[in-house]
Structure formats: C-alpha cells, structure tokens
C-alpha cells in the first residue's frame, strides 16, 4: 500500500497530489508535462517535496513535518526511466550486480542470472551498454532495478524502445514476477493503450493535479472511446 500527499514546485509548475495506491499495478496517466516524472522522482526520493508525506506499507519514507527523508537506495524503491542510464564503463552483468553489494559472490552471480533471465537478456551479460540496442538497454535497466528486491517498482515509460510484441511479452512476465514477489508497481505513461492493456488502477494526472483514480475502464472511458473511433475511421 502506497500513500502519499505531496506539494512541490518546479519553476512555474505546481504539483499537488494526495493518493493511496492499493493495487499491485497502478498506472499514472497524463499528457506530457502533467507531472508524472516529477511525481515518480519524489516517490523514489531523488527529489524532495516542499511539504508532504510518503509511506509504503505503513513505513514513512518522506515526512517533511518531521524532517524525515530516507535517501534513495534505502527506501526499497526502484525507478526505471525512459532513459536506461546504464553505467557505460561496466558490463551488463556488472550493471545488474551494482545494487547487490550485500550479497556474497555466489549469491550475487545467481541473482544477476535470474534477473537477466527474467527480462530475456541472459546472452547480453558480457556486453557493454554501448553495444546494446535501445530495447536491450531498457531490459537490462529493468533487471538492474529489480535485482535488489524492491518493495516498490516505479516505471517511467520504460518500454518505449521495445516493439509492441516484445513489450507485451515482457509485461506479462514482469507482472507475474512482481505478483509472486509481492512488489507493488507504479507505471507512468502518456499512452492510453498502455494504460488500458492492463487491468490496473489508473491515476489521471493533469497540470500537476490528480483528476481521477480508479479502474482503467472507468477512468479512461473517454480515451478508450477515442481510440476505438480512430480505429473505426482508419
């Protein structure tokens, strides 16, 4: 269960949201500039709100009134952005192992193997990030984020470089794995088909304010009709 009440500003942009995500898979849907990435960065602890609170399963991660700011890396929260941001001087395996410092060598190697297998990138282990395609890099970034066993996975349009079929197949595997490992996921997207493809709760975000939260079929009814109409016309 993820609860947050956040108020922050970036220049003229003002984000003010208060929500509780109970679903295993919640989609934050909104146009570019709605505040999706800002919200995910706040949840990840990379940025700090002017005021607010974030709690995951009852544990406060951010509580401005008490001056509490658990740093990223200690919040059991991972973030995968559109830009994979793989460390260019490390191999794929070393990238995935970066967050596994506390494990001994054997356990670390096994975990890296499991994660690469999950995202279908086992054969890429020895490669350098600069030798990967955009889609491969996004798979590796996902494996790296999952390796430290987070409780909360934040995905910021993470499959934009994957083609539809590959993206769907990975999504199915990922959702099963997250469910089995009791990891809550929050996915930001501006693509209504992505949001409608999963039986998820959807938070509708516009101009830094949340305008609706509920099942995708209800919240995105107008978007679904618009897509259906476009398909009919074409």
């Amino acid at each position: 269960m993820l609860n947050f009440s956040l108020d922050t500003r970036r220049g003229s942009f003002h984000l003010q949201v208060e929500c509780a995500f109970a679903s295993d898979w919640t989609v934050i849907f909104g146009p570019s500039g709605a505040g999706k990435s800002t919200l995910l960065r706040l949840l990840a602890g990379l940025d700090h709100p002017i005021s607010g609170r974030i709690a995951l399963d009852g544990r406060a991660l951010t509580e401005t009134a008490m001056g509490l700011r658990i740093p990223p890396g200690h919040r059991q929260t991972s973030l995968v952005s559109q830009q994979p941001a793989l460390f260019p001087h490390l191999t794929v395996a070393a990238n995935v192992a970066y967050g596994l410092r506390r494990l001994d060598g054997t356990a670390r190697k096994r975990r890296v193997g499991e994660m690469l297998d999950l995202v279908g990138a086992t054969d890429l282990a020895a490669r350098r990030p600069q030798d990967l395609s955009g889609g491969q890099a996004q798979r590796v970034a996902l494996a790296r984020a999952l390796a430290p066993a987070p409780r909360l996975l934040l995905l910021d349009e993470p499959f934009s470089a994957l083609d539809g079929v590959a993206s769907d197949a990975l999504l199915v595997r990922l959702q099963t794995w997250l469910r089995d490992n009791k990891v809550q996921a929050v996915v930001a997207t501006h693509d209504a088909t992505d949001a409608l493809a999963t039986s998820a709760d959807v938070l509708l975000l516009r101009d830094g304010r949340h305008t609706a939260l509920g099942p995708a079929a209800d919240v995105l009814a107008s978007e679904r009709d618009r897509i259906a109409l476009r398909l009919k016309v074409s």
């Binding site: 941001a85 984020a145 430290p148």
Partner: protein, 222 residues
C-alpha cells in the same frame, strides 16, 4: 644543474599533488553534485588562489604562519618549529596555491557525468564514497589525470609563494624556480638556460601525456 633543488622541487610537487588529490576529489564532488547557494562561496574560495597574485598569497601565509599570529605560534608549538621558511610551510603554501588547478578540472569532469547515472547509482544504494569511486572517477578519469598533472606542474613552477614563504634556503626551500631566479640575478645565463630548459621539458612532457590520453580514448568522456 642544481640536483638538490631539482630533487626538492620533485618532492614538493609529489607531496603537494598527493595532498591535493585527497582534498580535491571530495571537494570537487561536493561542488559538482551538491545543492545550495553556499556552494558558490566554496567554489569562489577554491578558485581565489588562481586570481590572487602569488606574492600576495605568500605574504598572507607568511604572516599567518609566522610568530605574529596565535595560529602561527600554535603550529610552531605543535611541530617544534615555525612553518614559515621550512619545507612543511612550502607544502602548505603549495597546496593552497595549486588548489584551483586540481579542483577545477575535477569539477568540470564530474559535472559532465550524466546526472541520470548519478541518480541510478543513488537508487541502487551508492553512498557518496561509492558514487565517487565507482562512477564519477572512472567516468572522469581524464579530468583526474589533468588535475594530477596540472597540480604537479604548477607546484614545480611556482615562484612567488615559494620565495615569500620559504625564502631561499638550500635543501629546505630552494626549488628550481628559485635557482633560476638566482642564476639570472648573478648573470649566469648558461646555467639559467639549462634550468629553464629542464622546467620547460617537464611541462611539455606532462602536457603531451594529458593530450595523448585524450586522443587515445576518443571523445564523449570527461
């Protein structure tokens, strides 16, 4: 050639460069990645020795480290000798004087590392020390090389601070630059030629090393 002065210059440059590395890497990381307006003051203070006339800096240090101030008397009591007109005093002066030449390339190098990589490392649990050692230094290794070489060369070539703070004591504070000055003052131009050529050769060699590394490793990294 004054081998004693040559050895002293190399020792002074090596000790100064080692101390500067220890100070500059965390300081540059703080300036490059930190937030807060007070960092502008830190950066300005770090850069100050670059624009301050060396003789002025040497004079300030001479007064500060001499018996006129409580600080200077305290240091003298602690070490058993005053810092002014000693090798240790030269090291202190050189570290301050060459600080911007170590910090500036490192700040530039660390700042050029993609912030998304820094965020990714932090999300994976990297604290400041690991962030610097496993991400910033490997990705800005040529900036680190530049900082080492520039600090070393700048210390080898310094004159004003050395003369003001250390004087001209053979074996203790007489460096190659002071020897060159003495040789010119005594019209021994032949010897001055050799000393100047040696200083020039060192500089060219070190700069060639930096630029060869830059060319060999292509572009895209600081």
């Amino acid at each position: 050639m004054d081998l004693q002065a040559f050895a002293l210059s190399l020792r002074l440059a090596a000790v100064t460069t080692a101390i500067l590395l220890i100070i500059s890497v965390p300081l540059a990381a703080l300036i490059a990645l930190g937030r807060g307006r007070w960092l502008a003051a830190v950066e300005a203070l770090t850069t100050l020795p670059m624009v301050l006339p060396p003789t002025v800096l040497g004079f300030f240090l001479l007064v500060l480290l001499g018996p006129r101030t409580a600080f200077g008397r305290g240091i003298a009591a602690l070490l058993g000798h005053p810092l002014a007109f000693s090798f240790d005093g030269l090291v202190v002066g050189s570290v301050i004087y060459s600080l911007p030449f170590a910090v500036t390339p490192l700040v530039a190098g660390f700042s050029s590392v993609d912030t998304a990589l820094v965020d990714a490392a932090r999300l994976l649990g990297a604290g400041p020390v690991r962030l610097v050692s496993s991400i910033l230094i490997p990705l800005a290794r040529r900036s680190l090389l530049a900082a080492i070489v520039l600090s070393f060369l700048h210390t080898i070539g310094e004159f004003g601070v050395v003369l003001m703070l250390g004087g001209d004591i053979p074996g203790a504070t007489r460096t190659l630059s002071i020897v060159l000055y003495d040789q010119v003052e005594s019209f021994d131009y032949a010897a001055a030629d050799h000393t100047a050529l040696l200083l020039l050769g060192l500089s060219v060699l070190a700069l060639a090393l930096i630029y060869s590394k830059t060319r060999n490793h292509g572009v895209g990294r600081a």
